[in-house]
Structures are given as structure tokens and as C-alpha cells.
């Protein structure tokens, strides 16, 4: 079996809406459930052969996007395309494509009431690139016994089993939908390490959805941030690292420096203000800041995530800048 090349994927103006429906209440009354929009004009690319992070808050539309990629559902509008780079097509009902796409959900798709070994045998039949030796190695690492039924496993072990299936299948498009949720920290790190090591040896396209931004951002080569059904940005990860900057200093000075920039966040502490702006500051800005007694800091991806996805209700009260977190990012003057 020749291995397929890593898949790319593209969302073009994709909409997913759920229609109004009726549901029965406990006393037999019928309730109308209002329709809702899960994705609203999503356009972005998933580059072939890279690890893409799909970031977003709960309910942002991450799982809906991943379900579309795996052809578990069809969009209400727009198109979703996947396939080898340069040969993208609609994956819906396309066995040649879907057999090369694996969507791993939190507890995996497993035979709950049969031994783990039965699920492994099933995946071995179904997945052309399945590596049985590697699967057993991973289950050993995660301490998931082969002779136990998934229904008897703890939540963390279920997630570890799901992660194992995702890695050992080596699908050209492997999608992990918050698969780490049940795992404790050491297990999550073991999963990240296994993912990186196996990805380096067997290059393929991996999409990992997450809201643990700080923990996962370094795994990504590409990042897509979705919020309330829309793409906020889709960019190479390295470019995002230095995208937001902060200015700290006397209020008048800082406000002056921030003029003309998109302000993401403003904190006041007596006469001192800290403003987070979207975008890197120029050398001229840096010199002006230094001359006026303000400091320029760099904000990580997590800060960008928090500021760009905050709702108006969550606008924070004025508080002391949180200098105890990641101090290296705050004081640096460039």
C-alpha cells in the first residue's frame, strides 16, 4: 500500500445553520427550539503536511468545522474541500478521501463493550496505514490495558485510547477534536511528545482543536482562530507570536503612542496605563516609547486569544497588570 501524501483542506465561505425544530418536554408539551448558526462565512486553508491548531472558545464552531472536514456533516452553504495538495474535492460520500481522513473525538469511536483489542483489530482492518506495533507501544505508554473494555476505563484512559487510535492510524489528514480533555497534565504532555515524534517520522496533516492555548501553541505551524462561527485569523504560528504588543507607562504618553493602533485592551493603575495593541510596533515607536519613559512588551498567542474572543460582558474591571505571569514578555524593551 503506497501511502497517500498529506492532505490539504479548504473552507470557502462555509455556513452551517441548524434549523428550528420541535422537542417534547417532560409533561408532553411541545417546545420549539430556535434555529442557530454554527458557522457564518468561514473561509480558511489547512496547509498540507503541517500541524494546524484550531483555537476557539467553547461553542465557537471548532467541532462543527472538524466534522465538516471529516465529511461527518455537510455545510448548509459554501464548500469544504480536502485531498492531496492541488487535488482538492468535496469529501462527502467519497470513500477514497474519507478512508484517508480520521476524526478523533474525545473518547474516540470505539467498541465500548468489547475489549480494547477488538477496537484495535477493527482499526487495523479499516486504516491502510495502521501501525499495530506502534498502537501497542502507545497503549503501554499511557497504561491502557488491552483486555479491558473501554466502558470500564477512566475518562483519562478513554482519551488516551482515542489519541492512540488517531496516532497509530497515520491518516493523511488526522484531526484531534479536543482529544486531551480527559487527560491529566503528564498524560497530555506525553501525548504532545508522541504526536511530535511520530509526525516528524511520518509527515502528515494534523489538525488539533484546543482552548489550552499556552500549552499547545508551540506544537503548531499554522493557527486558525474561530470565534462565534467566524474566522478571526488564519496565519502561520510564528507570525502570531509577535503580533500583539503592550505599552506600559504614564497614561498620557501611552495613549499618545497607541494612537493609530487597534487597541485590544486597556488597564489603568493610578497614573500608569498598560495598553495592548494588535500589531507589532515599529522601531520608531520603540524609540519614541523609550524616550518618553514607556516600555514595550510582547504579548503571546494566549493574550491575543483572550483579547480577540472576549465578549462585551467580559470586559474586565480596571485591575493591576498581572506582572506575576510570564514576566519576560512584559519588561522586554526592543
Amino acid at each position: 500500500m503506497t501511502a497517500l501524501p498529506p492532505f490539504a483542506a479548504r473552507f470557502q465561505d462555509v455556513e452551517v445553520t441548524f434549523p428550528r425544530s420541535w422537542t417534547a418536554g417532560a409533561n408532553g408539551t411541545a417546545y420549539r427550539v430556535p434555529g442557530s448558526t454554527a458557522l457564518d462565512g468561514v473561509t480558511c486553508d489547512v496547509p498540507a503536511g503541517q500541524i494546524t491548531g484550531l483555537l476557539g472558545r467553547n461553542g465557537a464552531g471548532k467541532s462543527t468545522m472538524l466534522g465538516l472536514l471529516a465529511a461527518f456533516r455537510r455545510p448548509t452553504g459554501g464548500t469544504v474541500l480536502t485531498g492531496p495538495d492541488g487535488d482538492l474535492r468535496d469529501p462527502w460520500e467519497d470513500a477514497a478521501l474519507t478512508s484517508a481522513i480520521l476524526l478523533v473525538q474525545e473518547s474516540g469511536d470505539v467498541f465500548h463493550d468489547q475489549k480494547v483489542a477488538a477496537t484495535l483489530a477493527y482499526y487495523a482492518d479499516l486504516r491502510p496505514e495502521w501501525d499495530a506495533g506502534y498502537a501497542e507501544e502507545l497503549l503501554d505508554l499511557f497504561e491502557v490495558p488491552l483486555r479491558t473494555k473501554p466502558s470500564a476505563l477512566s475518562r483519562g484512559k478513554k482519551s488516551a485510547l482515542a489519541a492512540t487510535l488517531g496516532l497509530a492510524a497515520r491518516a493523511p489528514l488526522t484531526i484531534f477534536d479536543e482529544v486531551y480533555l480527559g487527560m491529566d497534565t503528564p498524560t497530555r504532555f506525553a501525548f504532545y511528545d508522541a504526536l511530535l515524534a511520530d509526525y516528524a517520522e511520518h509527515p502528515r496533516t494534523i489538525v488539533l482543536s484546543s482552548h489550552l492555548v499556552e500549552e499547545t501553541e508551540r506544537l503548531f505551524e499554522h493557527v486558525v482562530l474561530v470565534d462565534r462561527g467566524r474566522v478571526v485569523f488564519a496565519e502561520p504560528a510564528e507570525e502570531l507570536r509577535s503580533r500583539a504588543s503592550s505599552l506600559t507607562g504614564p497614561t498620557a504618553v501611552v495613549e499618545d503612542l497607541a494612537a493609530g493602533h487597534e487597541v485590544l485592551h486597556r488597564q489603568h493603575l493610578g497614573p500608569t496605563t498598560r495598553i495592548t495593541v494588535n500589531g507589532a510596533l515599529s522601531d520608531d515607536d520603540a524609540r519614541a516609547a523609550a524616550a518618553a519613559g514607556a516600555t514595550i512588551g510582547h504579548e503571546g498567542l494566549e493574550s491575543l486569544f483572550v483579547h480577540l474572543t472576549r465578549t462585551s460582558r467580559e470586559a474586565p474591571a480596571t485591575r493591576v497588570p498581572d506582572t506575576d505571569r510570564a514576566p519576560a514578555r512584559k519588561e522586554e524593551l526592543r
Binding site: 504532545y192 511530535l196 517520522e201 506544537l219 510564528e238 507570536r241 509577535s242 512588551g297 510582547h298 514578555r329
Partner: protein, 130 residues
């Protein structure tokens, strides 16, 4: 590791440069593979690859087909020459500017340097474990 504000690939490149400069990595020594970098520091292999690419361009590293990345002959000298050229502008200049801001006199600085000058040439080598 690599918690600074710059892109991680720049920080990796900087770490390797420092190791070459200090002699921790000798000429013709093999550096860690992208896979080792990725799993050791839990970063995307492409990030390490990008750092290597930059160092190859700077002639600090070179690639041996099928074997991996090695420290280029003359890399240490090249780095020393480059950093020496930039030392006054990038290191001493800002330090002296800060001194003048704090009212530290030139005499104080000269006295400090006189008391701490390392014996000729021996300061370059650190035997530091990473």
C-alpha cells in the same frame, strides 16, 4: 526554555550560536536533529527546521546528506568576528548610555574595567553543561 518574546526559531538559532561561540559545540560536531529538537523542547519540527535554515545561510551549520546538521568549519571564528563588529554598537553603546543617564563617570567605568579585565583571550571558553 525559549520563553522570550522573539519567534522561537530565532531563539533556537541564538542558542546554537551561543553554543558554537562557547565551544560547547565544536566544529564538525553534529547538532540535534529537528526531531530531537521537537521532542526535547516540545515544539513543531518546522520551527527547528527554520532555525537550521537560517544557520546554514549564516554558514554556522552545514548539512551532510542523510546524516544531519553539523557545525561548519570556521563557524566559531565567523561568529566571533561578526559579534565583535557589533559589540560596541549593540552592547557597550547602550551600557554607556545607561551609565551616563545614571551619572556614572567615565573614570568609574575605566576603574571597573581595569579591575575586571580578564587575562588575554582566556575568557571565551565556558565549560557549561546545557
Amino acid at each position: 526554555m525559549f520563553d522570550g518574546p522573539e519567534p522561537i526559531y530565532l531563539q533556537i538559532a541564538q542558542m546554537i550560536r551561543a553554543q558554537v561561540l562557547s565551544g560547547e559545540l565544536d566544529e564538525e560536531d553534529q547538532v540535534m536533529s529537528t526531531t530531537q529538537f521537537a521532542t526535547t523542547f516540545r515544539i513543531n519540527p518546522a520551527t527547528a527546521q527554520k532555525a537550521f535554515g537560517q544557520l546554514v545561510e549564516e554558514q554556522v551549520l552545514y548539512k551532510r546528506r542523510g546524516l544531519g546538521m553539523f557545525v561548519a568549519p570556521g563557524a566559531r571564528e565567523r561568529l566571533r568576528a561578526d559579534l565583535r563588529e557589533r559589540y560596541f554598537d549593540e552592547v557597550l553603546g547602550p551600557a554607556l548610555a545607561q551609565a551616563s543617564l545614571l551619572g556614572i563617570s567615565a573614570d568609574d567605568i575605566v576603574a571597573y574595567v581595569g579591575g575586571h579585565r580578564p587575562s588575554n583571550g582566556s575568557a571565551a571558553r565556558h565549560e557549561e553543561e546545557s
